[in-house]
């Protein structure tokens, strides 16, 4: 199990990661989701032991990354945002170097390299200079490197960026497959990817954790305000008044005339969705309004994501509030965050 506690990173006075804590269980794929500049790469660099943290601890299977870095790093396979490949090396040469670096025993090296090359489908370019490879192959060579020596814990920073749709599907399948033997933390700003691959998600924005939960729970959590679409046949005013009077309806936001006395209502609900829906249907039937169609906007991860990252963070204490005061305008804060991300990428 990997435990991250209170992880914090300051770049000068700029706080890139703010006291975040979470755990990654064995055989779990944890999605790490956030917009650009949220602090994803910084966090991953800290977990991998590349960047020292300003505060907090990272423990990889019991080994603290700062106190016992060599022991901890033996269990880590890391694919950074930019694949760490040497342009002047051939793919096989590169992997053989990495295998040595990761202390794969000499006797197993050859088989291990073959295994990862097959897994990532880079076998056909093994003799090519990495310089001459396409972005997709470079990315896969970098990924292959992370899998060498079969480390228990994999850190993958946006592994599918720059791949074509076919390759993206392949890489996702590989990641899903990795779950059998590894724990994976996997960052992305692509939502569909995270929902397709991950067991749990950590949503982060501007260095703060916004949510840690399974995808289903997250989707459910924002279903408090729901939109219902109802198509009715009959008298418009009567239908409208019936719907509006029903308990659980907040307001009718739109009525579209679809011809031959069919009207489409868009209704905002409040309270429990199921009760409100049943109430509307019962009322309509009672009042002789025939319902042709009724369906709800299913909240997807996208809306969850947008809501979560835009939701203001609850300040845990006065101290933290006071700490925030120097950055008075929200815009300036946003800008400085962007700057820090740029610097990070450099």
């Amino acid at each position: 199990m990997i435990t991250i506690e209170n992880l914090t990173k300051y770049y000068g006075s700029n706080r890139a990661v703010n006291h975040i804590s979470f755990t990654i269980n064995d055989n779990e794929i944890l999605g790490f989701l956030g917009p650009n500049g949220a602090g994803k790469s910084t966090t991953m660099n800290m977990i991998a032991g590349y960047l020292p943290m300003s505060d907090g601890t990272v423990s990889i299977y019991g080994a603290d990354i700062t106190k016992e870095p060599l022991k901890a790093k033996k269990n880590i396979g890391y694919l950074p945002e930019i694949p760490p490949v040497y342009p002047d090396m051939k793919v096989k040469e590169y992997l053989s170097f990495c295998a040595g670096l990761k202390q794969v025993p000499r006797g197993e090296r050859k088989d291990e390299i073959e295994r990862v090359m097959k897994l990532l489908k880079v076998k056909d370019v093994e003799g090519k200079l990495i310089r001459n490879l396409s972005k997709g192959y470079k990315q896969r060579a970098g990924f292959a490197q992370a899998l060498l020596g079969n480390p228990k814990f994999l850190i993958l920073d946006e592994p599918t960026v720059g791949l074509d749709p076919n390759q993206v599907a392949e890489v996702r399948a590989i990641i899903k497959d990795l779950k059998k033997e590894h724990s994976v933390i996997f960052s992305s700003h692509i939502l569909s990817e995270v929902s397709a691959v991950c067991d749990r998600v950590v949503i982060i924005n501007k260095g703060d954790i916004r949510a840690i939960d399974t995808i289903e729970n997250l989707e459910r959590s924002v279903s408090a305000s729901l939109t219902l679409h109802i198509k009715v046949k009959g008298d418009r005013t009567k239908a409208a008044s019936v719907i509006e009077m029903t308990k659980g309806v907040k307001e009718i936001t739109a009525i579209d005339d679809e011809g031959s006395s069919i009207y489409a209502f868009t209704v905002q609900l409040e309270g429990d969705f199921d009760t409100a829906r049943d109430a509307i249907m019962a009322e309509c039937i009672k009042n002789g309004v025939s319902i042709l169609e009724i369906y709800a906007d299913k909240p997807n991860l996208e809306s969850v994501f947008i809501e979560l990252i835009n939701r203001p963070v609850k300040k845990s204490g006065l101290e933290e509030l006071l700490e925030e005061t120097p950055d008075e305008s929200g815009e300036a804060e946003g800008e400085s965050d962007e700057n820090s991300e740029e610097k990070e990428e450099e």
Partner: protein, 249 residues
């Protein structure tokens, strides 16, 4: 540690890099030798107290060429790792930063030995046609070896400080040039006004120490000077890398 050493050597020897730099070194070595030999024929009558042709004299002029060659050798050491983003790979693998620095230093030293080994051909040719004072030659080689190691450590430090290998080479050349002439500066009329500063500067001067080697003396104090300079520079390199990780951003 060994994989990094091997990788560095591969990057030198699988490309024309090491061969080109060694060839250039030999060429630069051959030029003063050719000059000196031809001068030897011309000038015998001119001055009575003329120095006899010696390799140690030649090594003296060769030091100057180091300034152009060694920064080119060391410029990529860390700058390229940063540029390629492969620094992350090294730092997140179970190898300590100290070992990375040592492995890279040893790889550079190996190429340097390869360069120096090539120059052995000149004493051999001379020995066939004339006479070589072996003991003095060995001392001069020890001196030039120590000097080169110091410059390699310095070049690595500069490479660790920047992301651009070209910049590392240029800064390296400037710093090494200054280091070479620091004793001339210390002896200058201007500096003699400040005897204390003069003695401090003089302590950093490597050239007078090399002079002892080239005259056939191996003094413990000179060896200590070079050894401590190398250790200080390597430790500084280590600190520079660690510091940048802490300050990044």
């Amino acid at each position: 540690m060994f994989p990094i050493y091997k990788k560095e050597l591969q990057s030198f020897f699988y490309t024309p890099f090491a061969y080109a730099i060694a060839a250039l070194f030999l060429l630069l070595f051959a030029l003063p030798m050719a000059n000196m030999i031809s001068d030897l024929g011309k000038n015998t009558s001119v001055s009575a107290n003329m120095m006899p042709f010696s390799f140690t004299e030649m090594f003296y002029s060769v030091i100057l060429y180091f300034i152009f060659l060694l920064p080119i050798l060391t410029m990529r050491t860390f700058a390229d790792e940063r540029k390629n983003g492969t620094e992350v790979l090294l730092m997140t693998s179970p190898v300590s930063v100290a070992k990375i620095v040592i492995a890279k230093f040893l790889a550079n030293v190996t190429v340097y030995l390869f360069m120096i080994a090539g120059t052995l051909i000149f004493p051999i040719i001379t020995a066939i046609k004339g006479e070589v004072v072996i003991s003095q030659l060995i001392c001069a080689y020890i001196g030039i070896f120590c000097w080169g190691l110091m410059y390699i450590a310095l070049g690595m430090l500069i490479s660790a400080l920047t992301e651009s290998s070209i910049l590392a080479a240029i800064i390296g050349e400037v710093v090494m040039f200054m280091l070479l002439f620091i004793d001339d500066f210390a002896n200058s009329g201007f500096m003699s006004q400040f005897p204390k500063a003069q003695s401090v500067l003089y302590a950093f001067a490597a050239q007078p120490r090399f002079a002892y080697f080239s005259e056939g003396f191996v003094r413990l104090s000179d060896l200590t000077f070079f050894a401590s300079a190398i250790i200080v520079l390597l430790v500084w390199t280590y600190i520079a890398i660690e510091k940048r990780r802490w300050n990044r951003g």
